[in-house]
């Protein structure tokens, strides 16, 4: 399909930009045809809502479009790599003292804010402190740091103090540690950033960014990026299919199924991005008995759940909450359905005649309600009579999540230690499974105080394996994150979670 009017307008607008000399060093040929000129703007239809669009990089970033806008405007200290490793960004090194509580963070000396000021260690520490003040909004991302005791050493070095020995400081600085100029107070508009792009106006719905030609990092191939917040997944997909976007994030599996063989688009799959774990509170009947929790995990037909809920776009789960984390244990046998063993466990738990429970879910994310219905049917076979009750999407997270004893939850591609902080320590704000095992918590502290990376990973892996067998989660499947991109689009971010938000290297095809 072609929409010549629109193309002509864009071409005219860009031609004007060329004439006024906005792009003296464009990567494309100097004799740009209108088509090449239009191809200078990369258009991303991202999940998010124009209504909730955040302007504060340290608060709540409700949609992916918010993360993407911040990641274009501001530099972060470190970046999650596609394989789970930590990549340097503004921070070039992070070195601990022998006790693993005092870390020297060195930052680049060649980064500058858009107002010309150099980015210093004081700016970085100021930004971390601001994140600490906004802990309620960013789920305590800096909770492991004693920011009052941390201090600036010189222009490019600061000392970051942790509350306990904490070996994963590089990881803790990943993704959302956006650095702003020290002393910034008014965040109702973007403050000067040092990132790969600069905000260049736009509307409530579409924010425009222009390449920051003095950025220290690899030169972004696109001169302009347009980030559009589109709440409806179907609309995002259609935007790409009709040529109104070059990348559509998080599109429905049904749409991907229809267009899998479409030659003008590419389907981008990111494995392990989303899971809807089944939550069982370990302090509420009947799930306070570990045998019942085991029975539930053995009663689930994971393949059927994957095929129906995620249309097969994903992989079956092995009850690990973060199987893509580099510390996830490997070599565990795949858990599969064993109704005989599950029924035996139910009898051992004194529930030979079954038990009535309420399983809560919602329609906040596609398929969560379907999953609940299927789970209820599958559990019926071992005598757990689960009545499904759906909560509206806008109250689910305040009335069900973290409160009810049995529900379908949501987890989106976050690292193991983030899940631990939010949900698995005795004082986590959302300890939804009431997992307060002191031995486990002690083993966690020990793992985080282990300086040797391989040994630490093994210890963290053991913690995950124990949680898999004894904890309150059943992870039946992981769904792929599905994006659609135009043919020839390259430089798309890999990985899940925060890494998906960094699109500065995207490039349009020919």
């Amino acid at each position: 399909m072609h929409f010549p009017l629109r193309r002509r307008l864009v071409a005219a607008g860009l031609a004007a930009a060329f004439l006024t000399g906005c792009s003296a060093t464009s990567a494309s040929a100097p004799t740009a045809t209108p088509k090449n000129a239009a191809a200078d703007t990369f258009r991303y239809a991202a999940p998010g809502s124009p209504t909730n669009a955040a302007t504060d990089p340290h608060g709540l970033l409700p949609g992916e479009s918010d993360l993407v806008r911040m990641a274009l405007t501001y530099d972060v200290l470190t970046l999650p790599g596609p394989g789970g490793q930590t990549l340097p960004r503004l921070a070039t090194s992070w070195q601990p003292d022998p006790g693993l509580t005092r870390w020297r963070i060195a930052i680049r000396g060649d980064a500058a804010f858009s107002d010309g000021r150099p980015v210093t260690a004081a700016d970085a520490l100021f930004s971390l402190r601001r994140m600490g003040e906004k802990a309620a909004e960013n789920f305590g991302r800096t909770a492991m740091f004693d920011l009052a005791a941390s201090k600036v050493i010189d222009d490019t070095t600061f000392e970051l103090v942790t509350r306990k020995p904490y070996a994963e400081v590089g990881k803790a600085l990943e993704g959302a540690t956006f650095v702003v100029p020290e002393g910034s107070t008014d965040f109702t508009r973007p403050v000067p950033g040092s990132g790969p792009f600069r905000p260049a106006g736009g509307t409530a719905q579409a924010a425009l960014f222009e390449r920051n030609d003095s950025w220290w990092g690899p030169r972004p191939p696109s001169r302009r990026i347009e980030v559009r917040a589109v709440p409806d997944p179907q609309a995002r997909g259609q935007a790409l299919l009709s040529g109104q976007a070059d990348l559509a994030g998080g599109v429905p599996a049904t749409l991907v199924k229809q267009h899998q063989d479409n030659p003008v688009i590419q389907v981008v799959r990111r494995p392990g991005a989303t899971l809807y774990p089944l939550v069982m509170r370990t302090d509420a009947e009947p799930f306070d008995d570990v045998r019942v929790r085991r029975a539930v995990r053995l009663a689930l037909d994971r393949k059927q759940l994957l095929d129906v809920t995620f249309l097969g776009f994903g992989e079956i789960g092995n009850d690990l909450l973060t199987p893509k984390d580099p510390s996830a244990p490997t070599g565990l046998p795949q858990r599969s359905r064993d109704l005989a063993r599950a029924r035996a466990l139910m009898s051992e738990a004194g529930l030979k005649d079954g038990v009535d429970v309420t399983l809560r879910s919602t329609t906040a994310y596609p398929g969560m309600d379907t999953a609940a219905t299927l789970i209820s049917r599958q559990l019926g076979e071992i005598g757990i009579r689960a009545r499904v009750q759906l909560a509206p999407p806008d109250t689910y997270f305040s009335t069900v999540y973290g409160k009810e004893p049995f529900y379908v939850s949501y987890l989106g591609g976050i690292p193991f230690l983030d899940v631990v902080r939010v949900a698995l320590t005795p004082d986590s704000p959302t300890n939804e499974t009431a997992w307060k095992d002191p031995a486990w918590a002690a083993a966690l502290d020990k793992a985080l105080a282990e300086p040797d990376e391989a040994r630490r990973r093994a210890l963290l892996g053991d913690l995950q394996a124990r949680l898999r067998d004894e904890g309150g989660y059943a992870v039946w499947a992981l769904s792929d994150r599905l994006d659609l991109a135009g043919k020839g689009v390259t430089g798309l971010p890999e990985g899940i979670g925060f890494s998906a938000g960094f699109i500065d290297q995207v490039k349009l095809g020919g």
């Binding site: 909730n52 669009a53 409700p62 559009r228 409806d232 259609q238």
Partner: protein
């Protein structure tokens, strides 16, 4: 003397309008208040500790009693400062002025289509070719009952998927005004206009049938006046008052009812703002948008009353 009477009438009408608006604002506030959870709870649902939620509630003034918040809001709005969003902290006036052009354009274009379509369809149902009348009646009544989502899906299937005339979504390029891309507005405007036109025609059909049965209209028809002339010369003027009231209600409905069309086609307008604001309990935004839509209806109804007074007053 006549001037003074007109002034008194006008003052009474304005007073009535303001009373209606005040009542509506209280109702909107109470309705929003009755929703479970507040902005702090919904926003950080589950992921923040109770102390953190309390802290946010206090910082946003959410811990104060409802009447204090309502009066604050009222005072601010009367002073032209409708406050700040609980969620983003941005001025509500900014949020609304950013989005008003899209919604006003959609609603305006839909109204421009629905306005002539309503009486035309209604008249066809009453005095159209005899065989067509029941068909049109069914179409009009059925169309009025169709949800917007269904209309939108049908239009996308036909105009976009089958014929490839317009794109199935309407993302406006950054920095572009909506009217610069008219082809992007076709589907959302039709989605709004068709059910409104059908709804209006369904209501007008009865009015027209009554007017058409009046002796002097029958007389005009017997004299051999064309159907169109009868409509223009007799039926429309006679139905001016209900027609004006209908238009008022439909305009308000269009301003408030763009939510579905905006969400489906990916346009950021007032309807989408209202729906999201309700979802996150952003009461200042909900209040402002809902009150704006109410104001459109109230103004329209007052104008309709004025028209009714003029048309009936002339005869009295």
């Amino acid at each position: 003397m006549r001037l003074r009477r007109a002034a008194t009438l006008l003052a009474a009408m304005v007073a009535r309008g303001l009373t209606l608006l005040a009542a509506a604002s209280v109702m909107i506030f109470l309705a929003a208040e009755a929703l479970p959870g507040d902005a702090a709870e919904v926003r950080f649902g589950g992921r923040a500790t109770p102390e953190q939620v309390a802290q946010i509630r206090e910082a946003g003034g959410l811990d104060r009693p409802p009447h204090a918040r309502y009066l604050d809001w009222l005072a601010g709005t009367l002073a032209g400062r409708p406050g700040h969003s609980y969620v983003t902290g941005r001025p509500v006036a900014d949020l609304i002025s950013e989005r008003a052009p899209v919604t006003l354009l959609l609603a305006g274009a839909a109204l421009a289509l629905a306005c002539p379509a309503m009486p035309a369809l209604a008249w066809l149902a009453v005095r159209g070719p005899r065989r067509l009348r029941p068909v049109i009646t069914v179409l009009v009544v059925g169309g009025a009952a169709l949800p917007q989502v269904v209309v939108a899906a049908g239009l996308v299937a036909l105009l976009s998927a089958a014929w490839g005339l317009v794109p199935p979504v309407s993302l406006l390029p950054a920095g572009a005004a909506p009217w610069q891309h008219p082809h992007l507005l076709v589907l959302p405007v039709l989605t709004l206009a068709l059910p409104s036109a059908a709804y209006g025609a369904a209501l007008l059909r009865g009015v027209f049938a009554d007017v058409a049965a009046l002796p002097f209209v029958r007389d005009a028809e017997l004299r051999g006046l064309s159907s169109l002339a009868v409509l223009l010369r007799y039926v429309l003027p006679m139905s001016a008052a209900p027609l004006a009231r209908l238009l008022a209600v439909i305009s308000g409905g269009l301003v408030a009812g763009t939510a579905v069309a905006e969400t489906l086609f990916g346009l950021a307008g007032l309807g989408e703002l209202l729906v999201t604001a309700v979802g996150v309990r952003d009461i200042p935004v909900v209040q402002a948008v809902a009150l704006l839509a109410t104001a459109v209806v109230v103004c329209g109804l007052l104008a309709a009353d004025g028209i009714a007074r003029v048309t009936t007053g002339a005869r009295a």
